[in-house]
């Protein structure tokens, strides 16, 4: 049973523990004052914290002892271009990419680790993050010319799904740049994802897979072909490992949001945290709710037990909702520093904390 949550915040990495009485409490802030853009509790034990230091760049730290000690590892980085001599080369070098944020980390088998970044670089490590290889094939796809940032200056990779049946089969989701598949560990990529709909482009482009904005994609552990997506303008699900997507209709109070979690024991059950599209980005009518479907996205229950009913301005970012590996606990954290936990599938929520820094991501420790 999971008894610990790692919470990545604007002011550090917070550990939250379940006490003997069942109450969850904040225990320790690591990296005090430093923005933590993502956290990974690796199933084999190590913790990874991605820092977004602003002035000094994106950094990566790893702990082998549950946060007692941290080791800084080399962060993923784009290769440096050759020195420029001509004016054209100088301009090209000025435009050459540099990692601004490590946006997600996904484990592969053994010591394999994947990193998705802003700008949308995909990086792979064979040694637990001690060295990185840039997967240039995704950067070189012609469709990248149309990618754009959703809330950031550049497009970014926020979801990397490794197929548990074949670790060479990857799914990568980009805001804003669609869903990409690799069948050869990132050597080559194909754009996939028929059925998504983009409401923010001219109508003739709305079905184009290359211009979709998946906000977050998760895979069902029970049925690996079953995927769930919170998209910029809808909730979508796939039964064929992302090749085709079906939109859930008439989702109230809103089909906009960022986060999604799927029940590890039931591939048809998933949770979302809706918000007002698009300029506002707060809970609809100031009422913080969680949407749950238990029938594969046909219908949704709107759950609010224990959550604020009015004057709530909490937005839940794409990595800030998680479910424990056994499916017993759900937790989410907000931009307003609220942290809530449920042990009954989202029917009722307990406030763990109301005064945390803005929360970027959280993960149950397996």
């Amino acid at each position: 049973m999971s008894s610990q949550i790692l919470v990545a915040t604007r002011k550090g990495l917070l550990t939250v523990h379940a006490g003997a009485n069942g109450n969850w409490q904040a225990k320790k802030m690591h990296f005090l004052g430093q923005p933590v853009s993502f956290v990974l509790a690796h199933p084999d034990g190590p913790w990874y914290a991605a820092l977004d230091l602003g002035h000094f760049g994106a950094k990566l730290h790893r702990s082998e002892d549950q946060g007692e000690n941290w080791e800084e590892l080399p962060a993923p980085a784009f290769p440096e271009q050759d020195p420029a001599t001509s004016e054209a080369e100088k301009e090209a070098k000025e435009e050459a990419p540099s990692v601004e944020k490590i946006w997600c980390l996904t484990p592969g088998p053994g010591e394999e680790l994947w990193a998705g970044c802003i700008p949308a670089g995909l990086f792979h490590s064979n040694d637990g993050g001690r060295s990185w290889t840039w997967k240039r094939s995704l950067w070189d796809v012609p469709e990248r010319q149309e990618w754009f940032g959703g809330g950031y200056d550049h497009a970014g990779i926020h979801s990397i799904l490794v197929d548990p049946r074949n670790s060479a089969h990857l799914l990568v989701a980009i805001s804003v740049g669609g869903v990409w598949q690799s069948l050869d560990s990132g050597t080559s990529f194909q754009l996939i994802g028929q059925g998504m709909r983009a409401a923010y482009v001219p109508p003739e482009r709305s079905q184009d897979p290359a211009i979709q904005d998946p906000h977050c994609v998760v895979r069902s552990p029970q049925d690996p072909d079953r995927l769930w997506m919170q998209h910029h303008n809808g909730i979508f699900h796939s039964r064929d490992n992302g090749q085709h997507w079906t939109e859930s209709e008439d989702v109230r109070p809103s089909n906009f949001g960022f986060a999604v979690a799927v029940d590890p024991n039931n591939s048809e059950r998933a949770w979302f945290v809706p918000a007002m599209l698009d300029e506002c980005r707060i809970p609809v009518d100031g009422r913080l709710v969680v949407n749950r479907t238990s029938d594969g996205g046909t219908s949704f229950e709107t759950l609010n037990g224990g959550l604020p009913d009015q004057f709530a301005y909490d937005l839940v970012y794409r990595h800030a909702l998680d479910i424990s590996q056994d499916g017993r606990f759900l937790a989410f954290g907000s931009t307003t520093g609220g942290l809530w936990l449920s042990d009954d599938g989202g029917e009722h929520w307990t406030t763990v904390h109301q005064n945390l820094p803005p929360i970027y991501a959280l993960r149950f420790v397996p």
């Binding site: 002035h55 000094f56 760049g57 800084e72 962060a75 784009f78 990419p97």
Partner: protein, 89 residues
């Protein structure tokens, strides 16, 4: 030899004492300052070897903010200050 001073804000992340280094340009001085401490490079320069956008270099008290910053000449008695731009939040 030119002297390189680092903002004390870096000390919370890594050891970076001020140091005297060989070098006839700002870039050469920084490269020599990074020698033996490669981790420091990624705090000052980005992936492309450019000075990070929110890092400022002062050369003998003057802030240097142009694209040719790293190729600017320095002399034996010059001082470089590697500072962070001010920002809040």
């Amino acid at each position: 030899m030119p002297k390189v001073h680092f903002t004390p804000h870096l000390l919370r992340h890594l050891d970076c004492e001020n140091r005297q280094v060989e070098g006839d340009t700002i870039g050469a001085c920084l490269e020599n300052a990074f020698r033996g401490q490669e981790q420091l490079r990624a705090y000052i320069l980005d992936d492309q070897g450019r000075v990070r956008r929110h890092v400022m270099i002062f050369h003998n008290g003057r802030s240097m903010q142009n694209r040719n910053l790293l190729s600017q000449s320095v002399t034996e008695t010059d001082e470089l200050f590697v500072m962070q731009a001010l920002s809040g939040g």
